[in-house]
């Protein structure tokens, strides 16, 4: 995803000379080509996230389209007030890219985990929050967020995420159908979509086909799709590499509850705790039942417990 991000940005920057790329001293070698092509439109501000965001704000105020890059945990929490006041309060068109979002840097420990980035950024008025599922979604979504009149947070993975197949177009603000189905629904956001796709494959062998969507856009929430989903199924599972508070799951639950929906939302995410022990991404997913095999089991159990499945006996 990281390479897809850089390659897409290089392509976009060729046509749009207002694009500037700022990094907080991260992205070793991956920006070399951007720098070689565009010179001063690449700026390494150093290990200084407040300055990363402050400088981006100033650039946006003079008509540029800055894209900032750092590891997700530093790109968001470290400089949150700069994002809130210098960027969001002013409604500036800055794209804040968080690399290795969620727990992609699991083995680096708690300092490098960002299980609250979607929540933090969703809390800011006017902020668009996007978490693509694979390189293809990065390629399609980046040009769209760079057209927005206001700010956006763009959470990407660390690299080598599997591409998955879906015929649905990738439109900002619109959930993407991964699998047509019924009985229950599974919604995902971010690169853990790959895990869901593998789980669906396992389930298909057992002739279980839940409805599945990828919500690459967390904010604004695609309530139109949500309305359709909640009309069709009772139980909605929400899968994300994020803490329970404030992510896609809680935003989906809040929206459904507000409109008096009878849907049941179950969150498949990281519980309210710091993930200790520095597990690698796959170990971490196994620990919390978020790997494909465990997901398939959970989804199957929900399927068998769903009202219509029970009626059929």
């Amino acid at each position: 995803m990281k390479l897809a991000f850089v390659e897409t940005l290089i392509r976009l920057a060729r046509a749009n000379r207002r694009i500037m790329l700022l990094t907080g001293d991260l992205g070793f070698q991956i920006f070399d080509r951007f720098q070689a092509l565009y010179g001063p439109r690449y700026v390494n501000v150093g290990v200084a996230e407040a300055q990363l965001v402050g400088a981006a704000a100033g650039l946006a105020m003079t008509g540029y389209r800055p894209v900032t890059y750092s590891i997700a945990s530093f790109a968001t929490a470290r400089c949150f007030e700069q994002i809130k006041l210098s960027i969001a309060y002013h409604g500036l068109p800055v794209v804040l890219v968080g690399g290795g979002g969620g727990y992609a840097y699991g083995e680096c420990g708690v300092t490098h985990h960002s299980g609250e980035d979607l929540s933090l950024l969703s809390g800011l008025p006017g902020m668009t929050v996007v978490a693509p599922g694979d390189a293809h979604e990065v390629e399609r979504l980046l040009p769209q967020v760079l057209e927005l009149p206001g700010p956006a947070y763009f959470r990407i993975g660390r690299g080598q995420e599997p591409r998955y197949h879906s015929r649905a177009p990738v439109l900002l603000g619109k959930a993407r159908l991964i699998q047509e189905g019924g009985e229950i629904a599974v919604l995902s956001t971010g690169e853990i979509a790959g895990e869901l796709v593998r789980a669906l494959r396992l389930l298909k062998e057992r002739r279980l086909t839940p409805l599945a969507y990828q919500f690459h856009t967390v904010k604004p929430l695609d309530v139109e799709t949500l309305r359709k989903v909640s009309a069709r199924v009772r139980v909605i599972l929400v899968l994300e590499e994020h803490l329970a508070h404030g992510g896609l799951g809680s935003q989906v639950a809040a929206w459904l509850a507000q409109r008096g929906s009878r849907s049941v939302v179950r969150m498949l995410c990281i519980p309210d705790e710091f993930v200790l022990g520095s597990p690698e991404k796959h170990q971490l997913r196994e620990r919390y039942g978020l790997d494909a095999a465990a997901l398939a089991k959970t989804i199957e159990a929900e399927w068998r417990a769903s009202p219509s499945a029970r009626r059929r006996g």
Partner: protein
């Protein structure tokens, strides 16, 4: 001697001494306006505004190439009041020069009015940016200037910071960046009034070395008397202090400058003047608030 007028063009002025004297009078009038605004708006931060009045007056009259007619010009010089709580001084200068109608001054810190208790660009669009939380202005200014230079614009950027504000690490992140990028169109003025919200700046975080700090960060830096108009104008004439480097002017000022009973009193960081305080202050300043000139108070 050469001077820039408000339209941004160069003109020769014969008598520099006369300008210094007239801007000194102007500063007294701005101070009177600030006191009146704080009284009417029932909002404090008066001490912080009074200490930097001279700097803001000097900037707008003698350094910034911007006027009401060029407020939207992409090549205008920009000013950011990073210590946003001192905004009465900025508002008063803007009104005096015709950037905003003077009657706005009588509605300072009133809901839904242009002049909020902290500067908000949504309320007053001609501001370069909204401020109020400390430590943001210099970073924003650095990005602006980087962009302006990239566009080959001649515009420069001035930022006014508080000395207490320099406790914020983000100020020094920005300071490093400005020097590394050789942003010599940048002027940072630090209002070194030696008092912050609850104590002496030098005791809280050891600021007696602000000039050395900026210099060691790669800036050109000087300390001057920030309440003496002549000295400020002379220092501005020497901008940039060192070619290829950003300039920091450390302004030794007195918090509450110009009003004897407010001077150097930490109490007057937040205190709102009473009717009696207002009358005494205006008496001492021997000036009427801008917006009440010629009218009965």
């Amino acid at each position: 001697m050469k001077q820039r007028n408000l339209a941004g063009t160069w003109r020769r002025v014969g008598n520099r001494a006369m300008l210094k004297a007239s801007l000194g009078d102007k500063a007294r009038q701005i101070r009177a306006t600030c006191v009146q605004m704080a009284y009417d708006g029932k909002m404090g931060h008066l001490g912080s505004a009074l200490s930097c009045v001279d700097a803001i007056v000097a900037l707008y009259h003698d350094w910034l190439r911007v006027s009401p007619a060029t407020a939207d010009d992409p090549d205008r010089d920009r000013f950011i009041l990073s210590k946003g709580h001192a905004c009465t001084a900025h508002y008063a200068v803007l009104a005096d020069l015709g950037f905003v109608p003077k009657d706005c001054l009588s509605r300072y810190a009133v809901m839904n009015q242009p002049m909020g208790s902290h500067p908000c660009k949504h309320a007053l669009p001609l501001l370069e940016c909204s401020t109020g939380s400390l430590g943001h202005g210099l970073g924003i200014a650095s990005g602006m200037l980087y962009g302006l230079r990239h566009k080959r614009s001649p515009a420069r950027v001035a930022v006014l910071l508080g000395d207490g504000e320099c406790n914020e690490g983000s100020v020094w992140e920005a300071a490093m960046f400005c020097a590394a990028q050789k942003l010599d169109g940048l002027l940072a003025m630090v209002d070194y009034n030696r008092l912050q919200a609850v104590g002496r700046t030098d005791q809280v975080n050891g600021h007696s070395s602000l000039e050395e700090k900026f210099r060691s960060f790669g800036w050109g830096a000087r300390t001057i008397d920030g309440n003496a108009m002549g000295g400020i104008l002379d220092a501005l004439d020497r901008f940039p202090l060192r070619p290829g480097r950003p300039t920091a002017l450390i302004l030794r000022t007195v918090k509450g400058a110009g009003v004897s009973f407010m001077e150097d009193q930490v109490l007057w960081h937040y205190r709102v003047p009473s009717a009696e305080d207002l009358a005494r202050a205006l008496e001492e300043l021997k000036a009427a608030p801008l917006h009440l000139e010629g009218s009965e108070r």
